[in-house]
Symmetry: C2
Subunit: 339 residues, 2 copies
């Protein structure tokens, strides 16, 4: 607020305009969630009380209704449905949404926040892997919600899934099929989801008293199909080959199918495969991929609704959410009548 | 330019500041592509010559360096690499880029242009299918470049491929393999690319004196895998089944693989398949898909470079570009030694 506005008392304006103090506060703080009519009434009341309303009037026409959705990469089709969900919530609430795929770290922080300022962004949803300190700095600048990838305990809300139990369930399913040597193809370990899926995988092996062999855990630095094919092929050609793959991404599961073909092994008879995410690819593949479904549309939708709540009210309790996942059984684990 | 600036002669400012006339022109036209130091020097020189620089000084801190990349849908992985190319060009030139997936038509025009204004966008690249009149209205508002999907003859630049000849080449290749009854799975026909690929397909059949049978042209309303599987399966179960599919998208080609499996036909022995775009899926599929590669990264990069030229100079000749495609032969047309 400009210095000239210091003498405002909200109660006087409320009395004059008949509008609640909460709404008056939003007008004075240039929140976007005030109807034009109401905004005008508040400004009129302020004028009649002798307050300087020039700043408020200048801002009337440029309410900030833009939400930025930040993702690590458009390459990963996983984000497409999440963004659609967020967009549905944005549109329903009169917000615009634009997508940004920049990393957010110390190096990019200034240019990224300059972009938020220039575009007059009202809030930010991110699925990126961001350092704790950077998240806190961002959250001090504008309302922020973490989607999927998140850090708990920062007083920054998130909407995500329970990766540990989802991974554990998937591996337990492979064990229930009689698999004894289950390899794991995992993604970039700086992501919390990779750390948690690894935990879930190890928990399932432990509970079933199966050997935890580090030699059959493939840890990749990016979601890269070719690298996954090479690594899986090597494993299948080793002396003690696995009888199943659990993959922390459907892209890796597709790579495991290719590797099995190259090693002349049948899927699912010789090698069972379970992926993660249920992206379009998983049903397009032949054989189609058994996978852990994430409620992608809902993850996006609820993240965006939570963000809009934060934009419209500075003080709301932080409520984070864990959403349910489900295992979708397809041809990489179960021989179907028709392929 | 404001009226008060009319008397400026660039040569006087160039002489005083030691800065080139081209750069001075960019400063005066508030182009974002000028270093802050240089901008200050030009303004100082103008001041010392008695020019009114108030408008320029006001604009110094809010250079508009935002490019909006508009796409029909994030669902189609085809756009991912195009956007990466555009982003590379944007970053190299000091621009930010945000992605928008709204349709642009009469109904959305006002809200879309309001968004461009609110975010202070400097220019727009679009891969959307937009009506002629709407493109012209947009082009009057801000610098615009059409990427891939385009309308020629509007004095609005575009960077695209020659879809007619790319499709003709692909079908000629299938004919060279001895295929006589080549079905075509085509996308939304309002898109110019669909119209052109259909033209190319028909030209190839005509030149080879093969029958043009409308019964084996599947025309779909969207890029939908399931719909394509159903339609292709139906065709393969008909009395006169095709011996090949040409698909105007790799997603359709993946659907043709699935349909062939369902009809217990071998790919490529019984059914050869050629896709289009060379998206990641085409090499991930088993068998991998023979397809027409589009230079996606380059399409994006050159579109963005063209846009930045337009942003920085109001009057540049409209130079559109057709980029080369190539056929990438994989397992859906050629039995490989290792699958």
């Amino acid at each position: 607020m400009a210095g000239s506005q210091k003498k405002i008392t909200y109660s006087a304006i409320a009395e004059r305009s008949g509008i609640s103090i909460a709404t008056i506060s939003r007008v004075i703080n240039n929140s976007s969630n005030v109807k034009d009519d109401t905004r005008k009434k508040v400004i009129e009341a302020m004028k009649s009380l002798g307050y300087d309303t020039s700043t408020l009037e200048a801002n009337t026409s440029k309410t900030n209704d833009l939400i930025i959705f930040n993702i690590p990469s458009l390459d990963n089709p996983f984000y497409s449905l999440i963004i659609q969900g967020a967009k549905a919530a944005a549109q329903r609430n009169g917000y615009n949404m634009l997508i940004n795929e920049d990393p957010i770290d110390d190096r990019s922080f200034d240019s990224f926040t300059a972009l938020l300022k220039k575009t007059n962004a009202a809030g930010l949803i991110t699925t990126n892997c961001i350092a704790r300190s950077t998240l806190l700095r961002l959250n001090a600048i504008l309302p922020l919600v973490q989607c999927c990838e998140c850090i708990d305990g920062l007083n920054i809300p998130f909407v995500t899934i329970d990766d540990v139990s989802a991974a554990r369930n998937a591996v337990e399913y492979l064990i229930s099929l009689g698999k004894k040597r289950i390899a794991f193809i995992n993604g970039p370990i700086e992501y919390k989801y990779s750390q948690d899926r690894l935990k879930g995988y190890l928990q399932a092996l432990e509970q079933a008293k199966l050997e935890k062999d580090p030699d059959i855990i493939i840890q990749l630095q990016e979601i890269d199909y070719d690298m996954a094919v090479s690594a899986a092929t090597q494993l299948l050609n080793s002396a003690q080959r696995p009888d199943a793959f659990f993959a922390s991404s459907d892209v890796y599961a597709a790579a495991a199918i290719k590797a099995s073909r190259r090693a002349s092994l049948r899927v699912p008879e010789d090698i069972a495969i379970v992926g993660f995410d249920n992206i379009g690819l998983s049903s397009l593949c032949t054989p189609s991929i058994t996978t852990v479904n994430q409620p992608k549309f809902q993850l996006g939708l609820l993240s965006c609704e939570m963000l809009i709540k934060r934009i419209n009210a500075e003080q709301i309790p932080i409520q984070s959410m864990y959403m349910d996942t489900e295992l979708i059984v397809r041809e990489t684990t179960q021989k179907s009548l028709r392929s």
